[in-house]
């Protein structure tokens, strides 16, 4: 078996037709993924997509790679076992806001703290799609859904904050309707060593249509989003506005007004401590532009590398396992 010299998008399309609703944001995410993977120089057979349950979690079926559509919320745990035992594979986790943050919240944060080398896409549509429209842990307070007809009373998670609270080494946000940005973000995640987490803002046009409209609509996009770039100040609205820190309190300023220049603005630092990235995660509409991009990307020890190093060290010290030796170690006696 040889790998085709250069893979193409088509190589990553499986023979199963996607069964998402027409218009669903998932289609775009799938397309960007299939576009990006050929560029990674990884043989197709070395990719594994692991998902939980939800509309989003049907993703692996449409990827012509190895795939595992597991059970609700458990993809991170299954992927962790896979990656620990097969460090040679490129393992991707695809999950939804319910899958990752409701039933799967614990595996999610443990994956982050361990820094397991997994690429994690959370399709955040702020709703349960597959089960037809209940509120999710990212739904707004007061959200009316099938299970909260008088409005949800649970304050939502900010997925990025949850990840940062668990000391995630790579945290990013992108949008289903911004193919270029999404592709770039996928590429960065692919190259990160350790858990790379991307929240993808995704539209569920059936049960929560327009959830992200306020920041993705063409007309408001520029003023409602601020693109994060490492080392660059937070500028948005076509360069007219920026985010500045007043003590600890972020504020929106207009460039050129009251003598404000780019130098006064908050400069993005991907390498900072989680609290610094969390400050950005706290920027929310309508008073602030929503940051899009890589919030944090730091190197810290990678789980399977530590593990493999221990295995190697043990081998160095004790040789490979010898069953006879093992069973005869310690006190034995011979009956003759």
């Amino acid at each position: 078996m040889t790998t085709p010299a250069k893979l193409t998008k088509k190589d990553f399309q499986s023979d199963m037709d996607p069964r998402w609703c027409p218009g669903c944001g998932d289609y775009s995410i799938l397309a960007q993924m299939q576009t990006v993977l050929p560029d990674l120089g990884i043989p197709r057979e070395n990719f594994v997509f692991v998902s939980g349950i939800g509309c989003s979690s049907r993703f692996p079926y449409y990827m012509n790679t190895y795939g595992f559509h597991t059970i609700h919320g458990r993809a991170p745990a299954i992927a962790t076992g896979l990656k620990m035992s097969r460090p040679d594979l490129s393992v991707w986790v695809v999950t939804g806001d319910g899958d990752a943050l409701s039933i799967g919240g614990n595996h999610f944060i443990h994956m982050m703290r361990r820094n397991v080398d997994l690429k994690v896409l959370l399709f955040n549509n702020r709703i349960y799609g597959l089960t037809k429209g209940q509120y999710s842990p990212t739904s707004e307070l007061g959200k009316m859904t099938k299970s909260t007809p008088s409005g949800s009373i649970d304050a939502p998670f900010n997925p990025l904050s949850v990840a940062l609270g668990a000391n995630a080494s790579f945290v990013a946000r992108s949008v289903d309707v911004d193919p270029k940005h999404l592709q770039a973000t996928l590429l960065r995640a692919a190259k990160h060593k350790g858990t790379a987490f991307i929240e993808v803002l995704q539209n569920c046009n059936v049960f929560n249509d327009g959830a992200w409209e306020h920041l993705t609509e063409k007309s408001v996009k520029d003023s409602a989003q601020v693109k994060l770039e490492h080392g660059k100040p937070l500028v948005f609205a076509k360069g007219t506005k920026g985010v500045r820190l007043n003590g600890f309190t972020p504020e929106v300023v207009t460039l050129g007004q009251d003598g404000v220049t780019e130098k006064d603005l908050l400069v993005h630092d991907e390498k900072a401590s989680p609290s610094r990235s969390m400050l950005l995660a706290e920027l929310l509409g309508p008073h602030f532009p929503t940051p899009i991009g890589v919030f944090r990307a730091v190197e810290r020890p990678v789980h399977h590398e530590l593990d493999q190093a221990q295995l190697a060290a043990a081998r160095e010290k004790k040789g490979t396992g010898d069953l006879h030796k093992l069973l005869h170690a310690g006190d034995t006696w011979t009956v003759s």
Partner: protein, 616 residues
């Protein structure tokens, strides 16, 4: 250090065929260590033996209280031994609480060795004694030896430089020394052990050695014991032996399975009593290329094992009852995706948190039926500490051969119990055949082997075999999602049939006793020793009773139905309210009778003799 005197000829040596000794004291008194060291010496001396540790659920219950009592029982003999003994013949008692909770178990007229030094007012009070039992005549019917172990140890160590607490901790070595002398055992193995354990603490080492020797010498020189005992070597199969607990044997079985299959191993686990020691043991063997993973919970542990299995690794998970309950949803995924994972349940007292440190056999039906939908999983059980090794190999073999999760049931009793084990010849162990598919021609993920009905195992990373699996019902050939009605029916039956076919691998059931008669006792799991011994005793009394002990609970051995029909009565002793008996009754419509005990304790042989006797 003083030179170790050779055991001189004692006043009188009495030969006895078997004896059961129980060491009891406060959890802080080191009774487990004392028991283990006595065991080691006894094994090396060539006896057959079994042990039973029994310690409190609390880490450290307050000193001197009833719940703080810790015990260790050993039964050794010149004959084959299958249980740790019903009742101690000798009780070594380190404090009043231990006397209070254990005296009732001592055989009538048995030997009692008491540390009088601990029978002070505060301790008597904590144990709930209004008057000192040593002085009120209540022990008159026993052969009581009073030894002030506390004081004698203090005397022996007065120049050791150890502080009072450290000296107090050495008491158990004095007691051990005394007992070693009494049964003509050498002190060397323990000395060796102490050297290793305290290699960095020379003071403590010296103190412990001194205390041990002092106890030994005391036995020899004191007038107290008129006699020592000799239990001759047992006539056991020649070969190299070691002591092994069930949890050790399980851990080693897991390592052996990876060796025999030639692939890497993975354990996903979460600590829980009494299973944690398997995780501990396996964590020490990184050089085997073995990955042990303490997950965030039991669900993650099971899921990680599934992920590893999907990756082509030999995967295991270990837990106990409540943890197993949590794994069941994921076990359903393993069976749906037909991936090999061995799930080991070291059973403990239930339901719920129950009695974590006690033994029970009440998770059999949970293993067989505890998932949603028609979800057949093979179930096997280990019957003794050393049998855990073979049972683990068998579980791994079935998992890989039939591409299925497999349950292995052990229990707290055999997991912590210890017995001598004839170390198997590693070269003679049967390889576990693993074949990963690599041929992309005509590949269908759910195509099956015609004999085993197993699908192919495919390692991600193999070009041309990219495919997707999951928990939704799958097409019977391609493995793709299928909502088709007929296909579902076919698949449900296929999965059942695959597990049923394991029957073809089950060897003929071995009957202990005659192949027909009045009573057939059917047992499974850790009750083997008690049942075997009880049936032997009943047979010796001329009863037409036989027994079989099942390794395979699902599927049941194919010859079991015929076998049961050859007996007038079938009796099923279980440490639950009757679980195997339900399977036998529904499968074979045989009016099998139950003998139940749910006390967190194993059967006593005498109990079984009398209760089985009622059916003879």
């Amino acid at each position: 250090m003083e030179a170790q005197p050779r055991p001189s000829a004692p006043k009188s040596v009495k030969e006895i065929p078997a004896v059961t000794i129980r060491f009891v004291g406060d959890s802080g008194d080191g009774m487990q260590l004392t028991g283990l060291e006595f065991t080691r010496a006894t094994a090396i001396a060539g006896n057959d033996l079994q042990t039973f540790p029994d310690y409190p659920a609390e880490i450290r219950a307050p000193a001197g209280t009833l719940p703080g009592v810790s015990g260790f029982q050993i039964h050794f003999s010149s004959e084959p031994v299958f249980t740790p003994g019903d009742q101690p013949d000798v009780l070594v008692v380190m404090n009043p609480a231990a006397l209070k909770t254990n005296l009732k178990d001592l055989v009538a007229g048995g030997t009692l060795i008491v540390n009088t030094g601990a029978f002070i007012d505060t301790n008597l009070q904590k144990a709930g004694y209004k008057v000192n039992p040593l002085t009120d005549g209540s022990l008159a019917s026993y052969k009581t030896h009073e030894v002030d172990i506390t004081k004698l140890t203090e005397l022996a160590l007065k120049d050791s430089g150890l502080n009072a607490k450290e000296v107090g901790r050495a008491k158990n070595m004095f007691a051990l020394g005394m007992m070693l002398w009494m049964y003509g055992r050498p002190t060397e193995p323990t000395m060796r052990y102490l050297k290793e354990k305290f290699s960095t603490k020379p003071d403590i080492l010296a103190g412990n050695e001194k205390a041990l020797q002092a106890g030994y010498n005391y036995g020899e020189t004191a007038e107290l014991f008129g006699v020592t005992y000799q239990v001759k070597r047992a006539a056991i199969t020649p070969g190299a032996y070691r002591n092994v607990t069930g949890n050790e044997a399980t851990a080693w079985g897991i390592l052996a399975a990876t060796k025999l299959s030639g692939i890497n191993g993975f354990l996903g686990s979460y600590p829980i009593t009494p299973a944690s020691d398997i995780l501990h043991e396996l964590s020490k063997h990184k050089h085997w290329g073995f990955t042990s993973f303490q997950a965030e919970d039991e669900i993650a542990a099971m899921c990680a094992a599934i992920g590893a299995a999907f990756g082509g690794t030999l995967a295991f998970t270990t837990s106990s009852g409540p943890g197993i309950a949590l794994k069941q949803e994921a076990i359903g995924l393993a069976l749906m995706t037909e991936l090999p994972v061995v799930i080991i349940n070291v059973q403990r007292g239930g339901p719920s948190t129950g009695l974590p440190t006690k033994t029970e056999q009440a998770d059999l039906l949970q293993a067989i039926y505890g998932r949603n939908g028609e979800s057949p999983v093979p179930v096997i059980a280990a019957s003794s500490p050393s049998d855990c090794f073979d049972a683990t190999l068998e579980a791994a073999r079935l998992a890989v051969k039939y591409m299925t999760p497999v349950f292995l049931l052990t229990d707290g009793y055999i997991a912590n119990g210890q017995e001598p084990w004839l170390i198997p010849d590693v070269k003679a162990l049967k390889p576990i055949e693993v074949r990963f598919r690599s041929d992309p021609n005509n590949f269908f993920a759910y195509q099956r082997d015609q004999t085993t009905l197993a699908r192919d195992w495919v390692r991600p990373g193999t070009p041309g075999l990219e495919h997707r699996i999951g928990g939704l019902e799958k097409d019977k050939l391609t493995g793709g999602v299928s909502y088709d009605a007929e296909n579902h029916d076919t698949m449900v039956r296929l999965r059942a049939e695959k597990v049923a076919r394991i029957a073809q691998d089950i060897p003929p059931t071995q009957v202990h006793g005659a192949p027909e008669g009045d009573v057939l006792v059917v047992g499974w799991g850790g009750t083997h020793g008690a049942i075997f011994t009880a049936v032997s005793q009943l047979r010796a009394k001329g009863k037409a009773v036989s027994s079989v002990h099942l390794r395979h609970l699902n599927p049941l051995p194919p010859d079991l139905g015929t076998l049961m029909k050859r007996f007038k009565t079938v009796v099923v002793p279980e440490l639950n309210l009757g679980q195997l008996v339900k399977l036998l009754r529904s499968t074979h419509l045989v009016d099998a009778k139950s003998i139940n005990k749910v006390q967190g304790k194993p059967f006593k042989v005498s109990e079984l003799v009398s209760r089985i006797g009622e059916f003879c």
